[in-house]
């Protein structure tokens, strides 16, 4: 906590308070959207038979563009998925903020570490849609994934 004075910018405590606030806003916002979507879903389909989830069949509503389209059309499941996407994005926003905070503190080693984490996250979220293949298999782990784990 009490770093040497060669680090300027916001103190660690202040950064932690802001991060705490960011996380709270992200979680509350996404939870409210998921809740609203869920409410609409139950009002529309509450009396329908429960979905059959006994056998895995990939969910079709999964690309960010598709989810956005369904959400702005106020489709219940689209709204739920949009809220879930926001939730998944919350840690990403936190990492982006940390990059800025470490940069303001002139702690360049940690700017580097944080950028590395950010790159991995963005890669996971978007590479699958850019290449049409699964995120991890696209380039990171060619035929030797078992050696990695």
């Amino acid at each position: 906590m009490s770093e040497p004075s060669r680090y300027s910018g916001p103190s660690d405590e202040r950064v932690e308070r802001i991060i705490s606030g960011l996380l709270r806003i992200g979680v509350i916002t996404s939870a409210l959207i998921v809740f609203s979507g869920g409410l609409l879903y139950l009002l529309h389909d509450g009396r329908q038979p429960a979905p059959n989830l006994g056998q895995f069949k990939p969910e079709q509503l999964r690309s960010p563009a598709h989810i956005w389209g369904e959400a702005v059309a106020l489709q219940p499941l689209g709204l739920i998925m949009f809220g879930l996407l926001l939730l998944i994005a919350t840690p990403v926003v936190r990492v982006i903020f940390s990059v800025v905070a470490f940069a303001l503190q002139r702690d360049y080693l940690y700017v580097l570490f944080t950028l590395l984490v950010l790159a991995i996250l963005l890669y996971s979220l978007f590479s699958g849609y850019l290449t049409g293949r699964g995120a991890a298999e696209a380039m990171f782990f060619p035929p030797w994934p078992l050696v990695w784990c």
Binding site: M1, S2, E16, R17, S20, G21, L23, R24, V27, A31, V34, F35, G38, Y41, L42, D45, R47, P49, A50, P51, L53, G54, Q55, F56, K57, P58, E59, L61, R62, L77, I80, M81, L85, L87, I88, T90, P91, V95, S98, L109, Y110, T114, V117, I120, L121, Y123, S124, L125, F126, G128, Y129, G134, A135, A136, E137, F140, F141, P145, L146, C149
Partner: protein, 277 residues
């Protein structure tokens, strides 16, 4: 069963899972996956729902922990490099490994988690010499105690980093937060004080899970009708649990929780071997 009943049932189970998960620092994922499988949900869907709820739990509880001043953002950030890489690997492996094998691995990981949280190993810190690598990485810090601030030193960074890669791998592979393994790496390998380990672990879980969530989403493992009650239930349960945590007897709680985990572990292994998934 109709949608209304299904949602209520899943939501109630998720509430309990989130509560237990936050109390013990192990996360709701290890409870919600076996619970959903018990209800007849395919494990791949259960993992997707659990993983998203893990992000909510972690971020929701971290918001309060961070304020308390226990979690160490530098330790978290540095080790997240390992956990996110591991998470990508694990999420990819989850896609190619048969569900029955995943179930058996899940059960075994649960058993190890239960064992880890049951035993209490003697630890000594505070009086040790600082570790040069940890000093270079500025990982050493202090945490609040009633008398003020208690400084601590971080040790065996490469070992902790490797264990974190493995923890991330398990998180992506099984759709859990793998808090027990993150705490093991910090508490035992790196000799970080327990309270700092658990809260920093919680803090890291969200980022780790977000890395595999992208892969899960792409593979269609995240279903809105299931993930909605799971996420909301686990989130509310974890917030309640986090409030109870302050000043609670964590050792006793961890022991109680171990028994629950043990039963669920055996269920997952049994299901994996008999193929009733």
């Amino acid at each position: 069963m109709n949608v209304l009943e299904f949602t209520a049932l899943v939501g109630a189970g998720a509430l309990a899972a989130g509560f237990l998960g936050a109390l013990t620092g192990l996360g709701g994922g290890v409870v919600i996956v076996p619970l959903l499988v018990l209800m007849g949900v395919d494990m791949k869907y259960a993992m997707g729902a659990s993983l998203v709820s893990v992000i909510a739990t972690s971020s929701g509880a971290a918001a309060s922990y961070v304020k308390e001043g226990y979690s160490n953002i530098r330790i978290g950030m540095f080790l997240e490099i390992a956990t996110t890489l591991g998470a990508l690997t694990g999420a990819y492996l989850a896609h190619i490994i048969p569900t029955q094998a995943l179930s058996i691995i899940f059960g075994m990981v649960l058993l190890i988690s239960a064992y880890l949280s049951y035993r209490t190993l003697p630890r000594q810190h505070g009086t040790e010499q600082p570790d040069p690598l940890a000093v270079r990485l500025r990982l050493d810090s202090a945490y609040p105690i009633p008398e003020g601030k208690q400084p601590y030193h971080v040790h065996r960074v490469p070992l902790g980093f490797s264990l974190m890669y493995l923890a991330g791998c398990l998180s992506g592979l099984l759709g859990i937060g793998s808090g027990a393994f993150k705490v093991l790496a910090m508490d035992q390998a790196m000799r970080i004080p327990f309270k700092v380990s658990t809260t920093t672990s919680n803090f890291m879980i969200g980022v780790t899970a977000a890395a595999s969530a992208g892969v899960y989403l792409h593979y269609g493992q995240i279903v809105p009708a299931l993930t909605m009650p799971v996420t909301l239930g686990v989130l509310i349960g974890s917030l309640l649990g986090a409030h109870v945590l302050m000043g609670a007897q964590t050792r006793m709680l961890r022991r109680v929780f171990s028994v629950v985990i043990l039963a669920m572990a055996l269920q997952m292994i049994y299901k994996g071997f008999t193929g009733k998934l």
